[in-house]
């Protein structure tokens, strides 16, 4: 198999034995992983540590990846996010992978599959279209690792307001993202 033209899934399947496959996965996804880590952490050194931990975890747990839960890139970014949150909250880094919720197979919706193909611009447009206070709450939660209570305290608004903004914001984000077209199904 020519690794260079192999899909991400095929590269992951070649792990952990073929370290060359990890090299290629790094080439494809390290800038995205670094982008997320830099967005979340205050310095480059910490961001690089987190990216390193995430790629080592990807290599170590490659066989527990299931394509139904999303793309390899989303999986990797989920690990980066989890490790960065550990740091932001001052937690010891855990070996465990982030918990993933999977709908029962019969209920897996088409949207989840199609969502994996959205590009950066589409997601940015959707984020930009959120009301500012909902976007702010979502960003504080997701990128800064704030809990509901911390967001409420940082913004000086009641806890219930924060809960509502997170709920409405995420629901709206989902609704704003392009629906899969019929041909994609």
């Amino acid at each position: 198999m020519d690794l260079r033209t192999a899909s991400d899934e095929a590269l992951l399947a070649a792990l952990p034995d073929d370290v060359g496959a990890l090299d290629l996965l790094y080439e494809r996804h390290a800038p995205a992983a670094m982008g997320l880590a830099m967005r979340m952490l205050p310095d480059r050194e910490a961001a690089e540590d987190v990216v390193q931990e995430a790629f080592v975890a990807l290599w170590r747990h490659a066989r527990s990846y299931a394509p139904a839960r999303g793309s390899v890139r989303t999986w990797l970014l989920g690990i980066v996010h989890h490790r960065a949150i550990d740091r932001l909250r001052g937690r010891r880094p855990t070996e465990a992978l982030p918990e993933e919720v999977r709908a029962d197979p019969a209920e897996t919706d088409v949207w989840s599959q199609a969502a994996q193909r959205l590009d950066r611009e589409e997601i940015r447009r959707a984020l930009a279209a959120l009301p500012a206070e909902q976007r702010e709450a979502i960003e504080l939660a997701y990128f800064s690792g704030f809990t509901q209570a911390q967001i409420a305290s940082a913004l000086g608004v009641p806890l219930g307001t924060v809960k509502g903004r997170l709920r409405l914001g995420l629901a709206r984000l989902r609704a704003l993202l392009p629906r899969p077209t019929e041909t994609e199904r």
Binding site: D17, P42, R135
Partner: protein, 254 residues
């Protein structure tokens, strides 16, 4: 949330809304640890919540894709591959099996994976939850606005300053202060920003930023605030000065 499965048909609108609030916060990682554990337990028994949580989780998982890509340092790949090679050579469990969480201290010397450049957690004090609380500004356009609208100062926010063009704040703890300045442009070639803590009129350097570097992110001060009355930032020759020589760009009373 308890172990009972929900029947979506029997929930009132208000109940459903509360459930969605909890699950949205869960998907975004915004629940406190104990609450998140409760939700995770509940999800094992409730198919309706599991479906909703998966849907919200898919939306949340797209957020990182909105970030700008950043080129990692050229040597990072080598460090990762070296760490992996070292782990392959060490005695480990059969590969591919999901590994249980291992306490980092449980490994015998030399037997565990090598993690080059990984630093002990105690040396990154900004990870303290209290300090993290005020890392509000990371990449957030909302930060300035939020500070301007701030009605009451939080305990973790040590001070908030406003000038005509800048809003800036001290956060973290007095022992590990963080300076949050929004978008101070690069100081010019061969110049460095330097932060000072002034005690009884005597300035002591609290941090010198790399030459040519603007301030975009929270910076950790290298000394506690103890006894200081003023914090100030000046523009100095690259590498900083023993005492402030350049113009004071920002200054605030503590």
């Amino acid at each position: 949330m308890n172990g009972q499965a929900h029947d979506p048909a029997r929930l009132t609108a208000a109940e459903r809304e509360r459930l969605e609030e909890t699950l949205a916060s869960y998907a975004l990682g915004a629940l406190a640890d104990t609450e998140a554990q409760d939700v995770a337990r509940h999800l094992t028994t409730c198919a309706a919540c599991r479906a909703l949580a998966a849907e919200l989780g898919t939306a949340a998982a797209l957020l990182p894709l909105a970030c700008d890509a950043v080129e990692p340092a050229p040597d990072l790949k080598g460090r990762i591959l070296a760490a992996v090679e070292a782990e392959r050579e060490g005695p480990r469990q059969p590969s591919g099996l999901p590994l249980p969480p291992e306490p980092p201290t449980a490994r015998e010397p030399g037997a565990g994976p090598v993690r080059p450049r990984s630093r002990p957690w105690t040396r990154t004090p900004w990870t303290l939850a209290t300090a993290a609380l005020l890392l509000v500004c990371l990449g957030l356009g909302a930060w300035n606005l939020q500070l301007r609208q701030e009605r009451s100062r939080q305990a973790e926010q040590l001070a908030l300053y406003q000038t005509a063009r800048q809003t800036w704040a001290l956060a973290g703890t007095s022992a590990v202060p963080l300076l949050l300045v929004r978008g101070l442009p690069p100081p010019g070639p061969d110049r460095s920003y330097q932060v000072w803590l002034i005690r009884d009129g005597r300035p002591a350097s609290a941090r010198v930023l790399p030459a040519g570097a603007g301030i975009e992110r929270p910076i950790e001060l290298e000394q506690p605030l103890t006894g200081a009355q003023t914090v100030a930032i000046t523009n100095e020759p690259a590498g900083g000065s023993p005492g402030p020589t350049g113009p004071i760009l920002l200054a605030g009373e503590l």
